[in-house]
């Protein structure tokens, strides 16, 4: 393998890994803040116990998330120096803002929250968890603004003298339509992850307690019932937000990155009233796209997703490739011709990956929907979840929204290829801003170095991942703790309420 391929794999591995941890932090930080708010407002001990229980799990998760995030900040420079030179003038800004505005807030207030239970008055302490949670969510906004710019570069102009993209308007970058659609979609998927996590673990415990003969009017049963419903409501709201924002995103994508959607649908030749394929056979990634057979599909749905019209035209991969190459005879091409673009298998997204990741993203999220609806059904009118199969459903559902989110990112990033910065189709000037992935890789770094870092990261991440999983599983299996009401320490010699 060449340095380029290794660098791509490394980015994929480190980013997908990082994003296994991130959604839970984003969603759960807010859910824990809500739990603590409920405790401060009602004084009900149940909420304090839930805050401590899920708060601990949040911390175990956050530590690895923060650690793997450090790499992301420097990886652009290390493996993608030519990309960094080309985009730094505009892409660096949201990254720097993320650190200054979001990371400081998140990290500083997390320290205050963990160690502040016996140091800060109740309401001030509550404010620290909110500051932490807001910091986490803000960071998502800035990094999505940066990523969306790669999908749909706006507020920028090419400077031929410097050979780079430069900022024209930060406002356009931060209000990019792509960002405004991606942010709610990603945040909602983070809440789906967190809601599934909270509800799934609570259902597991409710069934377990019931099986162990715990009466339904016990404090623990009531606590887990509350948590399961809290998580389920979160999932329902998040699910609706995901569908709505996803629909907006799909429509933007047909307009901004038609190749990505054509690849996702396995549409090779331009179609009117394109159907949505549910199952395809044949070699999607091969050099003979003609072998692809869609055996189950919903007529017109893809066209409807694209433009809200069942008969709309959806351009195929082959036609879009010809348009990029400038050899299309279409009267009104929808993507610009790119200098040096050649029509072959390497200059379009990997069809199998985009087709299946798109479907897995949607399909796997359905587990959360099933869990949410069944939990709400069984817990209606003061009821409890006691069925053994519900415990299985809860545990099986736990990883599903994580996987769905990962596939969503794999789809988004792989569907953008062969570009690392995709050209904006609505650009009309003479020098469009775009960059081919092959031109972004570091020139100073050789294959040996990338291979070394890739092996080290993969091994370290795997080892840390084992500890992460074991601790999460262990703390989840200990259940919601019995807690003492926190008090602000007045005695200077009193032991800390928490210490590493």
């Amino acid at each position: 393998m060449e340095a380029l391929e290794l660098a791509r794999w490394q980015f994929g591995i480190t980013t997908v890994y990082h994003f296994i941890l991130v959604p839970l932090t984003i969603g759960l930080s807010i859910l824990v803040a809500i739990m603590q708010t409920a405790w401060v407002r009602t004084g009900n001990e149940k909420w304090l116990r839930l805050t401590k229980f899920y708060g601990k799990l949040l911390l175990i998760n956050f530590a690895l998330g923060v650690a793997t995030g450090i790499v992301q900040e420097f990886q652009f420079g290390m493996n993608w120096s030519e990309y960094s030179r080309y985009v730094g003038d505009i892409f660096g800004a949201p990254l720097a803002m993320e650190a200054l505005i979001a990371f400081f807030l998140e990290s500083t207030f997390l320290g205050l929250w963990i160690f502040g239970w016996d140091r800060l008055p109740k309401k001030v302490h509550l404010a620290t968890v909110w500051a932490f949670a807001i910091g986490s969510n803000l960071s998502a906004y800035f990094i999505l603004a940066a990523n969306s710019w790669m999908q749909h570069p706006v507020g920028t102009a090419y400077n031929p003298e410097k050979g780079r993209a430069e900022m024209v308007s930060i406002w356009e970058v931060l209000t990019n339509s792509t960002t405004l659609a991606a942010f709610p979609h990603v945040i909602a998927s983070a809440f789906l992850v967190a809601g599934t996590f909270v509800s799934g673990i609570a259902v597991y415990w409710m069934v377990r307690k019931h099986r162990a003969g715990e009466p339904k009017d016990s404090a623990d049963m009531s606590l887990y019932r509350t948590a399961s419903r809290f998580g389920a409501v979160t999932m329902i709201i998040a699910g609706i937000a995901i569908i709505v924002s996803g629909d907006v995103q799909a429509k933007l994508m047909f307009e901004q990155q038609p190749m990505k959607m054509a690849a996702a649908e396995g549409i090779m030749e331009t179609e009117d009233g394109a159907s949505f394929s549910l199952l395809a056979i044949g070699n999607l990634g091969g050099n003979d796209p003609g072998s692809v057979k869609h055996i189950l599909s919903i007529p017109g749905l893809t066209s409807w997703l694209a433009e809200g019209d069942f008969n709309a035209t959806v351009y195929g991969v082959n036609e879009l490739q010809r348009q990029y190459a400038g050899t299309s005879d279409a009267a009104d091409p929808i993507v610009p011709a790119i200098e040096g673009y050649e029509v072959d298998g390497s200059t379009r997204p990997n069809l199998a990956v985009t087709y299946w990741s798109f479907r897995l993203m949607i399909g796997l999220a359905a587990f959360s929907a099933a869990l949410a609806l069944t939990v709400l059904w069984f817990t209606r009118k003061g009821g409890f979840v006691t069925q053994g199969w519900m415990r299985k459903l809860a545990l099986v559902s736990l990883p599903m929204p994580y996987l769905a989110a990962s596939f969503g990112w794999i789809f988004t990033e792989m569907g953008r290829q062969p570009f690392v910065v995709a050209p904006n189709p609505s650009f009309t000037g003479s020098d469009p801003v775009y960059l081919l992935t092959t031109h972004g890789v570091s020139t100073a770094v050789d294959t040996f170095e990338v291979a070394t870092s890739m092996i080290i990261f993969t091994v370290i991440y795997a080892v840390l991942g084992v500890f992460w999983y074991r601790l999460i599983a262990r703390y989840a299996q200990e259940g919601a703790p019995i807690v003492e009401e926190p008090v602000v320490a007045t005695d200077a010699d009193a032991p800390l309420s928490f210490a590493y």
């Binding site: 530590a63 650190a99 590493y500």
Partner: protein, 348 residues
């Protein structure tokens, strides 16, 4: 002053913040076996930085992000060029972050000892490598006409750079020991004060040799003698106050030494950001007619200046407040016998 120069200074300020704050975090980590000694003592050491280390580390991410935004060429050349040292630093930071958070999650001495070892090693590695990296920036490295580093790994291991590594190592040890002298009591405090004396003298000696070498061999500007003197006064002050047991003043003196040292480093290379030893005409520069201008466009720098002007004071305010909240001196007696929510090792 043009905006590019302003951002060059601001990045120096961010590095100063990082080195002052995470400098003592690293020092505390390195000193765990020597000052902490016992299981309880090690735990005490870790908890002096417990509430703040994560926020301190963000100074590094901000310095990195600011370099990317304001000097993309610098960011690209530096991090692709110093690939393996940076990789080692990143690995250390990753392992350290997880180790600090996980070490007390299971109530088992073996579990804690292993994570503590990880914390200690991952404090030593970056303490040396940051000095190596900065010394190489000042000394200059082979950079070709496209701004690409062409030196390879072993080129970075020259005597000046290795001495630079010894400087940050001694400085962080002294900084950590002084911090611990301020923040702890009892036997641990006694040991920390002893280490503060030794390490601050060591930092003064290696620091002085390195700084004079730097000034004579590599500085572009005569005025950096002033920064050198400031750094020297800081280091000498840290040693002096360590000996008379005035650790608050020693801490301030050490912080002053960092200010002096960063000013010396940044001042010495200015108007370069990364001097090229291949040909001075290939150097990455803040501005100027020769060399590769590393700075971002005016528009970007204006935007970033506004962002920095609004948010930096806010960050400083709440970080200062955190230090105020956790200002109390800790002793081994403050360490709780058993954490709420810490579980014994699971029997298989």
């Amino acid at each position: 002053m043009d905006l590019a120069t302003f951002w060059f200074i601001l990045i120096g300020v961010l590095w100063t913040g990082y080195l002052v704050l995470e400098g003592f975090d690293f020092g505390v980590g390195m000193l765990m076996p020597f000052v902490g000694k016992t299981a309880k003592g090690k735990r005490l050491l870790l908890n002096t930085i417990g509430p703040v280390w994560d926020g301190n580390e963000v100074w590094l991410l901000t310095a990195g992000g600011a370099t990317f935004a304001a000097f993309p060429e610098w960011y690209a050349t530096l991090f692709s060029g110093f690939y393996l040292p940076l990789l080692l630093i990143l690995i250390a930071l990753i392992v350290r972050a997880v180790a600090i958070e996980y070490r007390s999650k299971i109530n088992d001495q073996k579990w804690r000892d292993r994570w503590d070892l990880a914390i200690i090693i991952s404090a030593w590695i970056p303490s040396i490598l940051w000095g190596v990296a900065f010394a190489n920036i000042v000394r200059g490295v082979p950079i070709d006409e496209t701004g690409t580093y062409t030196g390879g790994f072993f080129n970075l291991l020259n005597p000046f750079a290795l001495l630079g590594g010894a400087v940050t190592l001694a400085l962080f040890l002294s900084h950590g020991a002084i911090f611990l002298s301020l923040k702890t009591g009892g036997d641990v405090q006694q040991r920390a004060a002893r280490w503060a004396r030794g390490a601050s003298v060591a930092a003064l000696l290696v620091g002085a040799v390195w700084a004079i070498w730097l000034q004579l061999a590599y500085s572009n500007n005569a005025w950096t003698w002033g920064a050198l003197v400031l750094a020297a006064i800081g280091l000498a002050g840290a040693a002096f106050f360590s000996f008379i047991q005035r650790h608050g003043w020693a801490f301030i003196a050490n912080a002053l030494a960092v200010v002096g040292a960063v000013t010396l480093i940044f001042g010495a290379i200015f108007p370069n950001v990364m001097p090229s030893t291949t040909d001075p005409a290939y150097s990455l520069v803040v501005h100027g007619d020769t060399g590769l201008v590393a700075a971002s466009s005016h528009t970007t720098l204006v935007v970033m200046t506004w962002v920095a002007a609004i948010f930096t004071p806010v960050v400083l305010a709440y970080q200062a407040w955190t230090y105020w909240v956790f200002r109390r001196r800790l002793t081994e007696d403050h360490m709780p016998e058993h954490n709420e929510l810490t579980f014994d090792k699971q029997s298989a």
